[in-house]
């Protein structure tokens, strides 16, 4: 019996040891030599920062070089030139890189690399006063593909047969597609992501998103596997114009902290970064300088949907998921200020107001009643439901993961949808002018229904190239709407349907209806020219309905 106890104890100790952060007896410290700071984290990780521009030129885990040896890892596309200094304080080393090339970053950008004694992580934060000239704020870890080849499949371009769209979406011999734009999580779901190889893993912990842009449903690039002999790029995108629906937050704000985590191959949990509060980073707002919001509940919900409460102003963004019970929620660690507060049903804004946050004290809201849910309108028929997404429609749930031309997609072609008999999943998620137009909707009306005017509503989740729905009903063309306000970049072909939700309402006179079967066609219109079958004027469907 004692031997069994001893065995259990040994097993427990072994298991506990496995759960501890990876540590070793290597010498923690930083040295300056040959134009580089070399940091030993006191564990398995040693990395080098070039003193002329702040690029990371080497990153060794257990002696294995992970970093690309020609292009290096860097913030933006590199700072050009920078003033780089190092500070050691107890168990922490901070390397501070302040940009000096105004052609690369118009006003000084400060990027921090931080090491903690005994941990295989490189913590980072980036303080900006303007957007880098490259137009994107991201940290790129450029790893060697051959060393860490096992990255996310949707963004692994290894073995591709060439670009099928622009120079960043690739085809493969099996008819599938890959791109850095595919397989990315919405901002609200970001945790860690990375790639592994033999005995090594590199992951980014995306960290604090308060200074990023786009809100809870925005997706951005996380990885690109360039293929054998090239790079395995692991990104933390803080802002970009990839179907961006918000202005950038770049005026004297700190992005992060975030971290790159190095393991022997396992996926790490998000590391604790709270110690960074004591390191004096420019722009860091500690917890005493922050406030919180308490919402007692949300009334008028459709409980089959998740509700998210978002906050946004020019310097910060936050979100929190409302409880499924009564819609209550609490949002912590908010910078003081007045925010636009939005309640989303799924991804559709159904209530908007203002919330003012002060440091220290909670701001409390009584139960809020949603006023903007279009699903409460009485209808003759409705295709899909109002939630700001096309997820319930054909190919809607896989748009984020592949190009529309991918063989795994259901073939895009003009569709006839019969109300009452066709399945919702046969209705297209996206209406491309160059591919699957028109969509024909057949529906029956009683004589009473046909004898009255009705509103037709088409909700879209976003649009490409100013696409918007043009409707013909029983041969009568309805007045064409104007173009909605949308980001100007690609969208449906780069893994997102998330633009600005917009509802088009068409007043249809009774004279356009007939008793019995009615036929309606929906086609995208735009004054902009098409570049291809999928780079054609388009919009994503949220919901289509004929109101009573």
């Amino acid at each position: 019996m004692p031997s069994v106890k001893a065995s259990i104890l040994t097993s427990c100790l072994a298991a506990a040891t496995l759960l501890l952060p990876a540590r070793s007896e290597a010498a923690f410290g930083v040295t300056s030599s040959g134009g580089f700071y070399t940091v030993d984290t006191g564990s398995h990780l040693v990395f080098k920062i070039r003193q002329s521009d702040g690029s990371m030129t080497s990153c060794k885990y257990n002696g294995t070089e992970l970093n690309d040896q020609s292009k290096f890892s860097q913030i933006a596309s590199g700072l050009g030139s920078a003033t780089v200094t190092s500070t050691t304080s107890g168990n922490f080393i901070t390397i501070k890189c302040v940009s000096t090339d105004t052609g690369v970053v118009p006003t000084p950008l400060t990027h921090y690399y931080i090491a903690q004694n005994g941990f295989d992580n490189i913590y980072m934060a980036t303080y900006v006063t303007s957007e880098p000239s490259v137009g994107e704020l991201r940290y790129i870890f450029r790893g060697q593909y051959n060393v860490i080849p096992n990255g996310p499949a949707p963004s692994n371009n290894n073995g591709n047969t060439g670009a099928i769209e622009s120079s960043d979406v690739f085809g493969h011999s099996n008819g599938q597609t890959s791109s850095k734009y595919y397989g990315n999580e919405q901002a609200r779901n970001l945790t860690v992501k990375g790639a592994t190889g033999s005995g090594v893993g590199v992951f980014v912990a995306f960290g604090n998103r308060e200074s990023s842009s786009g809100g809870p449903f925005f997706r951005d690039i996380e990885n690109q596997g360039d293929g054998s002999g090239s790079d395995q790029e692991i990104y933390n995108y803080m802002n970009s114009g990839h179907n961006q629906t918000e202005a950038y937050r770049v005026s004297n704000v700190l992005h992060g902290p975030y971290a790159y985590c190095f393991t022997s191959g396992g996926t790490p949990s998000v590391p604790d970064m709270s110690f960074i509060a004591n390191l004096g980073l420019t722009g860091y707002v500690n917890s005493a300088g922050r406030g919180r919001l308490v919402l007692n509940g949300i009334a008028g919900r459709d409980t089959s949907y998740t509700y998210t409460v978002g906050f946004a102003n020019s310097t910060a963004q936050y979100w929190v998921t409302a409880s499924s019970g009564n819609g209550s929620c609490e949002c912590f660690n908010m910078k003081p200020g007045t925010y636009t507060m939005t309640i989303y049903k799924g991804e559709l804004a159904v209530w908007t107001g203002n919330a003012t946050i002060t440091a220290g004290n909670p701001t409390t809201f009584n139960t809020i009643t949603v006023t903007g849910d279009p699903s409460t309108t009485s209808t003759i028929w409705r295709i899909g439901n109002w939630d700001g997404t096309p997820l319930e429609f054909m190919n809607g749930s896989i748009l984020y993961n592949m190009h529309p031309s991918d063989v795994r997609m259901t073939h895009w072609a003009p569709t006839t949808f019969t109300v009452g008999s066709s399945s919702t999943s046969s209705f297209p998620s996206v209406q491309f002018r160059g591919t699957n137009t028109p969509t024909t909707v057949k529906f029956n009306l009683t004589s009473t229904q046909a004898g009255a005017a009705h509103n037709l509503k088409i909700g879209i989740t976003g649009a490409y190239n100013n696409g918007r729905p043009s409707v013909v009903i029983n041969g009568h063309a309805l007045s064409n709407p104007g173009a909605s306000s949308q980001p100007s970049s690609r969208s449906f072909t780069i893994g997102t349907y998330r633009g600005n939700n917009t509802t088009f309402t068409y007043s249809i006179p009774a004279a356009d209806f007939v008793t019995g079967q009615n036929t309606m066609t929906i086609s995208p219109i735009s004054g902009s020219g098409d570049l291809g079958p999928f780079l054609s004027a388009a919009f994503g469907y949220d919901c289509v309905e004929l109101d009573n």
Binding site: G300, R301, S304, T367, T376, G482
Partner: protein
């Protein structure tokens, strides 16, 4: 014995009321949106008319009194409406078109809830009965409350009928409310039906509203709605220099992409352009147009 009979009769009357009310509300709820309202509202109503709550049971005379009794009972148990049942009751009244009753309910809630409740009522009211909703705004004496309710009403009306809202707003006397309503209406109308907006603009005298509407219409439309030539006619009629400049740049940029020869011909012959502007455009790329 007589007392016992009276008690039995009274108890029976309460039970009949409960069942009748339950049945009535069930039917009503089925007509509206059962997925949102059924369970909670029934719970709320059951609480309000429970035999344990004689006040509510005694005041079933009118729908208004009944709703008020329900609200008072709900707030007695949950003054801050943290469980949202009172808000559900308000929603139910709005769903059923009982806006006058809903407005009375607003008077019974704590002061910190009034603004939100007014916004709910006027948003819903203006969606279906905009004229009545706008008239009812006059019953609000507090200027801040009125401003919030007005904006909610504009939002509701605009979501269903921007042209109606535009016609209402343009006939208001000059005020912040007029500007707010007209701007909102023109924004939405230019998106929903720019052709109809164009026809309406032609009925307006030239001036601020015409300029704003024309600029919005130009910004929201492209070759799918109108030709560049027609858009330029609208540009020519805009009086505000900044709006005129922005609208001209937009149409010219679009036109240069679709038919650069015709666009340059227009620039060369448009007599409203000064020579330096004309020379600058014709000598530079489309991206450098003013």
């Amino acid at each position: 014995m007589q007392n016992r009979n009276l008690i039995l009769i009274a108890a029976g009357a309460v039970c009949v009321s409960v069942v009748a009310t339950h049945f009535l509300i069930s039917k009503t709820t089925k007509r509206s949106t059962p997925q949102l309202l059924t369970v909670k509202n029934l719970q709320a109503v059951e609480k309000a008319v429970s035999p344990m709550n004689p006040e509510a049971a005694d005041t079933l005379a009118s729908p208004s009194d009944k709703a008020m009794a329900q609200l008072r009972n709900l707030l007695a148990h949950d003054p801050g409406d943290q469980n949202g049942h009172a808000a559900e009751l308000l929603n139910q009244q709005c769903q059923e078109g009982q806006f006058q009753i809903a407005l009375k309910l607003v008077d019974a809630v704590p002061r910190e809830m009034r603004a939100d409740w007014l916004a709910i009522v006027f948003n819903r009211w203006a969606q279906t009965e905009p004229t009545n909703a706008m008239q009812a705004l006059d019953t609000i004496s507090d200027p801040n409350e009125r401003a919030g309710a007005f904006q909610a009403a504009v939002s509701g009306w605009n979501s269903s009928d921007p042209s109606g809202l535009a016609n209402y707003a343009v006939n208001l006397t000059a005020s912040d409310e007029r500007d707010y309503a007209l701007t909102a209406a023109l924004q939405n109308w230019s998106l929903q039906d720019p052709t109809a907006l164009a026809a309406w603009l032609n009925t307006l005298p030239r001036g601020t509203e015409f300029d704003a509407g024309a600029a919005l219409m130009i910004a929201k439309t492209d070759g799918a709605n109108r030709s560049p030539e027609l858009a330029m006619k609208w540009v020519e009629n805009i009086g505000n220099p900044q709006l005129k400049q922005n609208s001209f740049a937009r149409v010219l940029s679009e036109w240069l992409q679709t038919d650069s020869t015709a666009a340059k011909q227009y620039v060369a012959t448009a007599d409203w352009l000064d020579d330096s502007t004309r020379a600058k455009i014709l000598g530079t790329s489309p991206l450098n147009t003013p």
